[in-house]
Symmetry: D2
Subunit: 213 residues, 4 copies
């Protein structure tokens, strides 16, 4: 079992896109995710990690995808396929339930919610890097959705920008096992220093609480 | 008189911080700005440039300073003097009149409002560069406030990131002539390809309309 | 067959890591790449695309991985797995044959060689984005190595930064078909607007030459 | 007298452009700088701060302007005035004495020399931010040239990116007192947390050595 340890002063939990559209029954994308997410208990695991982090007073950051608003893309000359899809499906539509964070994952006072991003990486064209620096953070524990798009993009950017990343492999999901494999077994191992289970990271975080006493 | 010409396809107007707190009577910073802004007719000039751009169908972008919200700075380990000042004075407080854009400058459908920035540059930690690229923009006409802080910072970043800048020297203001001089005569000439009057830029933009006919 | 067309004024070819260590017999990584690269004729295809671009006067840019130099990593507090590997293997060692560009791919006068990058993306911490903007480029045709690391990273960053990407799927290689599949079939389709064969892109580029006449 | 204290673990000295062209007799720009630089003893002060930092084992970083090479600008569609000037004057020409670092300021093993930048900010389109993060740095002590261009730009970017800055006001120079005033009294106070003399910062750094014993 991987043994990971964290220094609370420089470590943060990064929660990626815990929107109803992704992780709640009735969400626009849930039906495509629920196979993998049900099998690995993604949502309960995400909650366990979040609660463990809060209890240990590890700083919590949110990286959120742009919420669809009318007029977002009409004037663009250049658009990536994933942005076209967001336009067609109006994913995370602003002002709708699907574009709200699932209630158990609501940001709490003191959490940092980064500016919404336009593609897949929580770092691109946002203040996430700035906010992490303002809080002295160098290490990230990453949970959330979707493994091979926003999560992998954010992990890749984190490594490119100098952060040390722990990926929690059963607190994420994709549409299929093949996509999970591409993200978790093929690509992310090049960029994340540790790829662990929820149990492993929760145990490690819990030990921080004890050392406080 | 400087002669400047623009290709509509690759040129945008960038409006910086037209908040009530800056340019409306009763705004938190207006009393410190009104000496310079009154003398050079900053606000009417800004409006003339904006209206000329709209008429010529030049794309309009907004670069806006972060609106103060409670909890913004309490957890930061590192903070710059200008950010401390924003914290103390609650400049552009979110949800208040001071944090609203002055009515004549309200964004119109099709305008692009970039994500709010945390310090002085409209480019830093925002999607301004992305949005400009998505619209194929390479040249910026810059108006707004404050000449030696947000305006100069945004012009400097624009040049660093590869944009060609026109600065409209009587559609901006600072607290004093000395600060205007530092921005407009000492620093910005190194980064902006043209520094023009409102009349010059409005004439140039108006000629674009005629060439459309 | 995919039909792709390009406007020469805003399109560039981006060549990723054509180092001897990757694509020449005797290179440090060639033995791991030659299975896939031999099967899909990666190197001859890369050369066909490069020559077609040169003939059509499409601007050529190079995105290059950091060449190993002693002292690079000893003082780092945080390091990603892919950087640890570069340290151990001294890949693209500066001053050695392995760290030279394979001779047929040598940059020519007028080509732009971006600053070397430290991880996988040709955009991260380099002047690639600036150089593309300085040349008015909005569309990239991407060839080179390795499909699931530097190529995928650069394509992802290109999309995040606002570029429109064409990926040439038989002018790249990975260690295994599974990694090629992860990059070309699972991830890159979300970020590249077109994924084409060498024949398709060369035909399209060749038609630009004819339209010049 | 300002009292500044530093934690060695998170503090670095940033030396900006100590090229012969700037600070050596016979350098291309020296004649324009020597009035101010002579009056405030800029070069001896820079050396005192550098030596104090080395003695205290404070990490030393270099932010260097692009060294002129033939072909740099010929293909650019957009160019800023400061870049036009660099093109005309071939400042810091690569391979010449003027483009070498003045001998007393030569980087030592363990120092970090960031990639060369193209405009004024040591952060723009370089790996400076990455290298600072890889070393866990959050605070910068800044010395070097020229106060109102590269130094001010780098200080502004440092603040925008989340660093805490100390500016050493008599270890920098400009062409005139007016430009020094614009940089040191008007603009940098908004972005640097402390603006100190060489004596103040050297005393503070020296106290770090004592606390090691």
């Amino acid at each position: 079992m991987a043994k990971v340890t964290y220094d609370k002063e420089i470590t943060a939990l990064l929660v990626i896109d815990p929107y109803n559209d992704f992780i709640s029954v009735g969400g626009k994308v849930w039906d495509r995710l629920k196979g993998v997410a049900g099998a690995n208990q993604c949502v309960p695991h995400m909650l366990q990690v979040l609660n463990a982090a809060r209890k240990a007073k590890i700083h919590v950051f949110y990286a959120l995808h742009h919420r669809y608003r009318p007029g977002d893309y009409e004037t663009w000359k250049y658009i990536a396929p994933t942005q076209k899809a967001a336009w067609v499906h109006k994913t995370f539509e602003n002002g709708t339930w699907g574009g709200e964070i699932r209630s158990e994952f609501e940001p709490q006072p003191g959490d940092i919610v980064a500016l919404e991003h336009w593609c897949s990486s929580g770092f691109a064209n946002t203040d996430l890097d700035l906010q992490l620096k303002k809080h002295g953070i160098h290490k990230l524990i990453v949970i959330g959705l979707i493994a091979h798009t926003c999560v992998e993009a954010t992990v890749r950017f984190a490594a490119e920008l100098g952060y040390e990343v722990t990926m929690v492999k059963d607190a994420t999901a994709s549409y299929s096992d093949e996509e999970m494999h591409a993200a978790l077994d093929i690509n992310i191992p090049n960029y994340a220093s540790a790829i662990v289970t929820t149990k492993e990271v929760v145990d490690s975080i819990a030990s921080l609480c004890m050392s406080d006493q």
